[in-house]
């Protein structure tokens, strides 16, 4: 399945006045992420937070219009983090390394009023995953 576009996500999330609706949307987004192969839950793919864990499997493929783009499969044992990973993928998956490096993840989360999930104190692994995606893009650029 394909994730909603980043514009759709921003529109949807800004539409909710109520925190419950907003987080239900994020939880549903987490549920809709492609299944992460259980065999991929290995230490090399793991980013351990002290509260929840995140796994990432990078890859790449050829896009007819853009050339080589980077792909990422991700997972978390916490559903809200999985949903937040969905937000990250909507922005960074299937993008060229240059597009990834040009994208302002912090600004994006701020625009959604979700920046506290990126805070280093949350220990959910999300911030480290974003850093890892950016490093992969740097190596590939």
């Amino acid at each position: 399945m394909s994730l909603p576009s980043i514009e759709e996500i921003v529109d949807d999330l800004l539409f909710f006045d109520d925190w419950e609706d907003k987080y239900k949307y994020i939880i549903d987004l987490g549920k809709s992420l492609p299944v992460f192969d259980e065999a991929w839950r290995t230490p090399e793919r793991l980013v351990k937070g002290c509260q929840s864990s995140v796994w990432i499997q990078p890859g790449s493929e050829q896009d007819s219009a853009k050339g080589e783009v980077l792909t990422f499969a991700v997972d978390s044992d916490a559903i809200i983090v999985r949903g937040l990973l969905g937000l990250v993928l909507a922005a960074l998956n299937h993008k060229t390394p240059e597009e990834i490096l040009a994208f302002d993840v912090t600004g994006y989360f701020e625009s959604l009023d979700l920046e506290r999930h990126l805070s280093p104190t949350r220990g959910n692994g999300l911030r480290s995953i974003v850093g890892r995606i950016q490093n992969i893009a740097k190596s590939a650029a």
Binding site: Y23, K24, D77, A78
Partner: protein
């Protein structure tokens, strides 16, 4: 006599806070308790009126600071019923207290010696003994935890033998709330002349302690879990044991005489207090213990039991919830998982409703592995919590369950 909880709450300014428009319901007391105004005042007063280095100044401020600092040591001594004030060592907290003991133990053990810890310990009371055993070639054994969350006493009996040199266990489990039979466990270890350390990080928070009645050699606890400031704690050790225990950090204050090539050590308690101590926090910790000890201890115990009983009853009625740790003797802690929802999700969605709990492995990864959970959500109670706050936890938890279904 019952406790005037409303009057107690009035003394804790932080309890007036709101989180996202909800009144703060603070149920993370096993991580750290909040501080009453008198403790905050003690800290401010120290820096406002008599800040100075202790034991060495030739002036009025140093005299006053030293007097308050040593008076705080006496308060700690009385709180745990230590025989002598010299046996009370100021530390930065439980972890440092245990490290002081473990550092010395690593030098005293030999290959073939055995140390016993438990499967319910938090990392401070496990990793330290692992390192002491690695340094000395001794063997570490651990007492397994039963499904109930209690230590397997039969297994403990079987582990003890004449090679057992040291035994460490928690007074109260931080992750499960289990109150261990510390007096009986100490007596069993003493039949083999083993040294005994009781980790009091969670135990001291719930009432007075009597180290002489327990019969142990060491008792370590933190100020910040007993309504005091962070960064200060106390290690108690029997004088006969501590006086010969290898020194920990070396430096000023802990020495008696120094030449360019050698030094001799100071007397207790100073031989374990190298460098400038944390004077302000120690004084404020003394004030916290003075404040807490002044409460009717029977009423405190009855109130804390009522909170846990009420929470346990609501948890048992809550569909899809499993309590982790159902020991007969429990205090202060309700640890649980939900059928649907990782502890991190539960913690986040409770926080969004103003309810502060801890989630995760509680610095006790082997214990979480034992119960085959990635972690738990833990509500922990203190003297200022109310039955209404316990109700609020379960109202919020219903919303969490619906959202995560």
């Amino acid at each position: 006599m019952s406790l005037d909880v409303a009057a107690i709450r009035e003394q804790f300014p932080i309890l007036k806070r709101e989180i996202d428009g909800n009144p703060l319901v603070y149920l993370d007391n096993a991580a750290t308790t909040q501080k009453p105004q008198c403790v905050i005042d003690a800290l401010v007063n120290y820096y406002t009126t008599c800040n100075s280095n202790v034991h060495r100044g030739a002036h009025r401020l140093a005299d006053e600071a030293t007097r308050h600092f040593e008076a705080a040591r006496d308060i700690v001594k009385d709180f745990i019923n230590a025989p002598k004030r010299e046996e009370v060592i100021w530390t930065s907290g439980t972890t440092e207290g245990i490290n002081i003991v473990a550092n010395g133990l690593g030098q005293l053990l030999s290959p073939g010696d055995e140390v016993i810890a438990t499967g319910m310990d938090h990392h401070a009371n496990l990793v330290t003994w692992q390192q002491a055993c690695k340094a000395s070639g001794a063997t570490l054994k651990t007492v397994p935890v039963l499904d109930s969350g209690e230590l397997d006493q039969d297994a403990y009996d079987a582990l003890l033998n004449e090679r057992t040199k040291f035994v460490a266990f928690p007074h109260v489990s931080n992750a499960l709330g289990t109150v261990n039979p510390i007096k009986e466990m100490t007596a069993k270890a003493k039949q083999f002349d083993a040294w005994v350390l009781v980790d009091g990080a969670q135990g001291a928070a719930h009432g007075r302690v009597d180290v002489q009645d327990i019969g142990c050699d060491f008792y370590a606890f933190s100020g910040h879990k007993v309504y005091g400031p962070m960064g200060v704690g106390a290690l108690w050790g029997k004088e006969s044991v501590l006086a010969n225990w290898p020194v920990w950090r070396t430096g000023g204050e802990m020495i008696s005489t120094v030449t360019l090539q050698d030094a001799t050590w100071n007397v207790l308690p100073y031989r374990f207090e190298a460098g400038t101590p944390n004077v302000g926090d120690a004084i404020a910790m003394g004030e916290a213990i003075r404040w807490f000890s002044a409460l009717d201890q029977d009423a405190v115990a009855a109130h804390e039991k009522a909170l846990l009983d009420h929470a346990t009853k609501l948890a048992e009625e809550f569909e899809g919830l499993t309590i982790i740790g159902q020991a007969k003797e429990k205090i202060g802690v309700l640890s649980f998982v939900l059928d649907h929802g990782h502890p991190a999700d539960i913690g986040f969605l409770l926080d969004r409703q103003g309810i502060a709990v801890r989630t995760g492995d509680h610095c006790a990864q082997p214990l979480m592995a034992r119960f085959n959970v990635p972690g738990t959500a833990r509500a922990s109670f203190s003297v200022y919590n109310t039955l209404e706050e316990v109700d609020a936890l379960f109202v919020a938890l219903k919303k969490v369950r619906t959202m995560l279904a």
